[in-house]
């Protein structure tokens, strides 16, 4: 069953097209992340869902009810914002019960709901504090409790973690996912942080220039990106200009590989993107390898990133090696094997 549906939503601000024909369906209880660079339209999509922006074309519906022309305060959606949005004049408890008061929930039921929601985010003991007496992470958790207290039909999260430091961000991210799964609440999460999106989403929508480039599971987004933009935006890639030499067969320098997504006439150039972990170090005796010299080695803890300058084609690539057994020093000559089975994306007609 679908909970939130965008149908052909278009939104412009003057000459700028913020959203171009957005079609998106959130299933009940699902968490979808909209991921993309600044200005890609992800926040606009969220604001259209919340009712803060009215679309120029298309519609937004929740559980079958068209809400396109319904004002924001009548939509029953909960929202957590990027900047701290707690009302400074109200205590934690009063902030959480704000939405219940506007819904005229009776006193005893209201108090019970506030206590229950604050318990969910583990902030019961701080209920009498004021926002300025809380840390950033605590403020965002109160904001989450405030949004959840009204039992919204959809929870909208507008980069709620971006103002927090790395450690709090990770733990709050996990808490959000835990609560979302526990309560089974349909959630639209907007972020520019790919790690965040991949970590907590059921599906990820990658956006660019107001368009949804791909909507798929985090694994698919990473392993089978729909196009070069998605591949480049999510994770790191090595880019090669390859020549098609047969059906799904390409040549990169001296090596020949099978790339399932490579299509085009023999002799045409295509852009092939390969993830750093799909390049592995090989023995010098192995055939069909790319040869190069390590120019930089960066220890990352669980893995090491090597920058290798290849002889043919003349380019630099990044290789992720696991553990210390494969570590190489700067200046070492290495041979690389390309694993073409996954993570390879070919874009026909690209010559640079």
């Amino acid at each position: 069953m679908t909970a939130l549906v965008f149908t052909g939503v278009r939104k412009t601000f003057g000459p700028t097209v913020a959203l171009e024909s957005l079609d998106l369906e959130l299933r009940k209880g699902e968490l979808i992340s909209l991921l993309g660079p600044s200005g890609c339209g992800k926040t606009t999509a969220l604001r259209v869902a919340a009712g803060f922006e009215r679309p120029d074309m298309g519609s937004v519906s929740v559980e079958g009810n068209d809400l396109t022309n319904t004002p924001a305060h009548k939509r029953n959606m909960g929202m957590v914002f990027q900047s701290y949005s707690l009302f400074p004049n109200l205590s934690v408890k009063e902030n959480v019960e704000f939405g219940l008061r506007t819904r005229k929930v009776p006193g005893t039921a209201r108090a019970a709901r506030v206590a229950e929601t604050l318990e969910l985010v583990q902030l019961g003991p701080l209920k009498n504090r004021y926002p300025h007496q809380l840390s950033g992470g605590q403020q965002q958790r109160v904001a989450l409790a405030r949004a959840l207290a009204v039992q919204p039909s959809v929870l909208l999260l507008d980069e709620p973690l971006s103002a927090l430091d790395a450690k709090v961000r990770t733990s709050l991210r996990d808490e959000i996912r835990m609560l979302q799964t526990e309560l089974g609440i349909t959630t639209l999460f907007v972020t520019h942080d790919q790690e965040e999106a991949l970590a907590i989403s059921d599906r990820v929508g990658v956006m660019s220039n107001g368009r949804l480039e791909q909507l798929a599971s985090p694994q698919q987004i990473y392993r089978q990106p729909a196009n070069a933009f998605v591949a480049r935006f999510v994770g790191s890639t090595n880019e090669f200009v390859a020549t098609i030499i047969g059906v799904h067969m390409v040549r990169i320098g001296p090596c020949v590989f099978t790339v399932p997504s490579a299509k085009g006439a023999t002799g045409t150039d295509v852009l092939v993107l390969i993830r750093p972990e799909d390049l592995t170090l090989a023995a010098s005796t192995e055939s069909n390898t790319l040869q190069g010299v390590v120019v930089q080695s960066s220890f990352q803890g669980a893995s090491t990133l090597l920058t290798v300058r290849l002889d043919d084609p003349l380019t630099s690539v990044i290789v992720r090696t696991l553990g210390t057994t494969e570590s190489r020093q700067v200046g070492d000559v290495v041979h690389l094997v390309v694993d073409p089975s996954h993570g390879v994306c070919a874009e026909p007609g690209v010559t640079t």
Binding site: H73, S85, N89, G99, Q138, S171, E175, M178
Partner: protein, 295 residues
Amino acid sequence: MAAMSSETTVNNRMNLLGRFGRLGPILVVVATALFFVLPLLAMARFAFQSVPMISLGWSTLFKRWSFEGVTKAFKDEEFRTALGLSLRLAAGTVALTLALLVPTTLWVHVRIPKARTFVEFLTVLPYVIPPIALVAGILPLKPHARWFLNSNYSLIPFYAVLALPFTFRSLDAGVKALDVKTLVDASRSLGAGWGTTIRRVIVPNIRSAIVSASFLTAAVVLGEYAIARTLLKRTLPAFMQQYQGREPQGGMALALAALVGTTALFALLSVLTRPRRAREVDEPATTTVTRQAMA
């Protein structure tokens, strides 16, 4: 020897400079204070000493001081009427100004931020155009709007316009200090309409700005003379001007009392609008605890 002597001279100069460096600011403050206080003291002597003008000098400095001038003025029936009218006009102007400007400032910040500079320019106009020009523009309309201009309260809209430069700036600064767009969005997403949002979220958070705008508006109303005189209204400043002609000493005493009153008003304003206390508790996030508890 010569070297030692020149060193001593340099040291002396530096000591002198150092002393002046310390004394300089104090001298400036004292000079400024005298510049402001001496005329007030002269006013006070004229108003509260029952000594003929010609005899006012050092020898009579402590003689025959009395508050008779001001008490006499306070007892004057006309004074009470004028003061009452001015206070009612001040209250009315404050109410009208806030009712118009709080939503306007909010709307400008939330919906049309690009128009802020234009609105700011508009609100400065009463500062640039003399009040008398405003009245001159209204007088030709008098035959058509006699029912309105005959009422004492017809002054309220004029005063609201005159107070615009102060009130808009004050409210604008208050709203600017808040992330008002996010607060409005948060409030609306929680089911509050515009009325509830203004009443429960915005107004309590710009309380200082509202208090400050109200006092400034009141000060403008209590001191305005040109419009009241031209429209023949007996407000406090108009009464004071007329009373001065009749009772020079009492008039001066009233002027001094008004000055003290306004100063007290602004002192009260600065107390009421003191910035919020600095963050009291800066407790680290309890995330670790939470995670452990949840695990």
